[in-house]
């Protein structure tokens, strides 16, 4: 064997490796290019006074005919009213990212420690039910308690002779109610992600640690959490990318679109929806979406940059 041969073998191998691995990516890549990238020219609409396509000027040539209006479509997002919605959107998101992380990681760890796997499975199945109930259905459920005339809480208060709370007219309670609803709906989803990440951990590591006299708590700190770290970081980064987006149904249906609650329920998505239904301007809604994405993009890039410095393997890209 000459010295050169393994090298050239390695070389051709790595060439064919790249080739075969690339073929794996092809189906999804084609999909991404066609269905995600090709329509992206639509972002232009944020800066246009959109003219309808016609027979003579079909889509997307009508975009060239549409007058350029610069940042006019973004203006409606920056009025005296927009401070509230920006504060609410970012505030709720920040709180919920932290809370959601704590709750679902602890639930996943608790579940992994249960000896009766049947019960663990049952809990987990039950936790997925909220995923199937639309916010509208949830709002009916809440209303059964808070209805100003027949609500169960209201009736109990009336029967007890205490002050009856006018729930849909009292903004003070709603940050808590919305937080509970959000946790209720999303915990099942993220818990399953963490739980299956825990499942991937080699059990012999725990046994070895136990033999060395590590307590359960120490095992969690030194084995479970480090293994969960990539998943935690990835979900964190992706959630940060949605910091300027809100779950429309949660903020619209759950408070029953009650006007006095707006100071604590108005978020970017509800604001844009109301603006869009009142003007029908496609450019404005596209602009709002673009701005939300842009903010998300910047946040992700920053978060990812920080993560890459600390722990390159865990970063998104």
């Amino acid at each position: 064997m000459t010295v050169n041969k393994p090298v050239s073998l390695r070389h051709s191998r790595s060439g064919s490796k790249t080739f075969w691995l690339t073929t794996m990516m092809l189906p999804a890549t084609i999909w991404l290019l066609l269905i995600r990238y090709l329509p992206m020219f639509g972002i232009m609409m944020s800066f246009l006074d959109y003219k309808l396509p016609t027979r003579k000027v079909p889509f997307p040539l009508n975009l060239l005919e549409s007058p350029w209006v610069g940042l006019k479509n973004f203006q409606f997002l920056f009025t005296s009213e927009s401070l509230t919605m920006i504060r609410n959107t970012i505030g709720y998101n920040a709180l919920w990212i932290v809370l959601g992380l704590l709750i679902s990681v602890s639930f996943a760890i608790m579940m992994s420690e249960l000896t009766r796997k049947f019960l663990a499975k049952t809990y987990q199945t039950m936790m997925f039910f909220p995923y199937f109930l639309s916010w509208v259905v949830v709002s009916y459920f809440l209303f059964a308690f808070l209805d100003p005339t027949n609500g169960m809480i209201v009736r109990a208060q009336r029967a007890a002779g205490v002050n009856v709370i006018d729930w849909y007219n009292s903004p003070g309670y709603w940050p808590y109610i919305l937080t509970i609803c959000s946790m209720w709906k999303n915990t099942g989803y993220s818990t399953v992600l963490y739980l299956s990440a825990i499942t991937g951990i080699d059990r012999s590591q725990y046994e070895a640690a136990a033999v060395d006299g590590a307590t359960k708590w120490q095992q969690m700190i030194h084995i479970t959490l480090p293994h969960l770290k990539p998943m935690i970081i990835i979900l964190l980064i992706m959630n940060i990318g949605k910091i300027f987006n809100a779950d429309f149904g949660l903020f619209w249906s759950v408070p029953m679109n009650s006007a006095p609650l707006f100071p604590v329920t108005q978020v970017v998505d509800t604001y844009v929806y109301r603006a869009y239904t009142s003007t029908g301007n496609v450019g404005m809604s596209t602009a709002a979406g673009f701005l939300q994405n842009l903010v998300g993009f910047i946040c992700i890039m920053i978060a990812n940059g920080v993560v890459r410095r600390l722990d390159a393997d865990s970063s998104l890209f």
């Binding site: 790249t18 269905i35 199937f132």
Partner: protein, 309 residues
């Protein structure tokens, strides 16, 4: 170390949290799980309530009168019901199979540190998670260029690839596949596809099951694609049937004064509130039954421990 006798009812008590702690865990998880299931029980109760009861006291856990009307109405949908059930299953199964395959095939090279274009393709998919072209351009591309209109493709293809799932899947590869395993396989002369299918996939089963679960839930719950691309009733999935009722009711409620009195009579002919809840029950039950299938891989793996090369 404790000696384990065969009589021990809990042979795996070894290296487990104390009984007290476990009881506490049970308590916390049980409370939360109950909170998750009670609204669904509430839905079931409403579906068995009479319309009159709702009119009188609103939605309640204790309706004034009970009734099977809602279920009669649902079964009266007849063919439309079973047809949409079939569609939902078909879309979910085909969609999930295709989607998970594409997801795994895209995520695997991204996890391979020795793959040359890793950075490029990571960014390619990540970027679309953040930016999109918006409704109108996507609609035109899908409909006019790709022919997605009144066919199953329109209900499956637009959701095939989820950058979120790709990233999750890549993370599963990272957390459970030791890199030396791939090197060993390569030295043994295993081709890339062979390595992926024979060696890697069995290890990441929990991850695949999780992604498949999330994808299946996504397809099962999907209705917006149907609203956008499908008007043929034979293709409606169950979830859309429900959404149609819901949206009809909402529209009439919002525009009641505009349609005037004829709107009031239109509202009267709408599917009842209780019927909509009965349809929710029909939607949730199959997936609740299918859930343990996925779960086998997610939770059962905990006791077995993962298979390591």
């Amino acid at each position: 170390m404790t000696t384990i006798t065969k009589k021990n009812p809990h042979p795996f008590r070894l290296n487990m949290v104390s009984r007290k702690t476990e009881t506490l865990f049970h308590l916390i998880l049980l409370l939360f799980a109950l909170a998750c299931i009670i609204p669904f029980i509430f839905v079931i109760i409403i579906s068995f309530s009479s319309e009159d009861s709702i009119r009188q006291i609103g939605y309640s856990f204790t309706p004034v009168t009970w009734s099977l009307d809602a279920y009669h109405q649902v079964f009266n949908l007849g063919d439309a019901l079973w047809r949409s059930y079939f569609n939902s299953f078909f879309i979910t199964i085909v969609g999930t199979l295709l989607s998970v395959t594409m997801c795994v095939m895209y995520a695997y090279p991204l996890f391979r540190k020795d793959y040359k274009f890793r950075g490029f393709f990571s960014f390619l998919s990540f970027f679309t998670m953040i930016f999109g072209g918006g409704l109108i351009p996507t609609y035109i591309i899908c409909k006019n260029l790709l022919g997605m209109s009144n066919n199953y493709a329109a209900l499956i293809v637009p959701m095939l690839v989820s950058p979120f799932n790709i990233i999750i899947m890549r993370t599963f590869f990272q957390t459970s596949v030791p890199f030396d395993l791939i090197e060993a396989a390569t030295i043994d002369g295993s081709g890339e596809y062979n390595t992926l299918v024979r060696i890697i996939l069995p290890i990441v089963k929990p991850g695949i099951a999780t992604v498949a679960l999330l994808t299946a839930l996504g397809y099962w719950n999907e209705w917006f694609l149907c609203l956008m691309y499908v008007t043929k009733r034979e293709l409606f999935p169950l979830q859309y049937l429900l959404m149609e009722m819901q949206r009809n009711a909402e529209f009439l409620a919002r525009n009641s004064s505009m349609i005037g009195a004829s709107g009031a009579s239109a509202i009267a002919t709408l599917p009842s509130q209780t019927m909509r809840m009965a349809v929710v029950v029909f939607i949730v039950l199959p997936i609740a039954c299918a859930y343990p299938f996925f779960q086998r891989y997610v939770v059962a793996g905990l006791t077995i421990g993962s298979v390591k090369g």
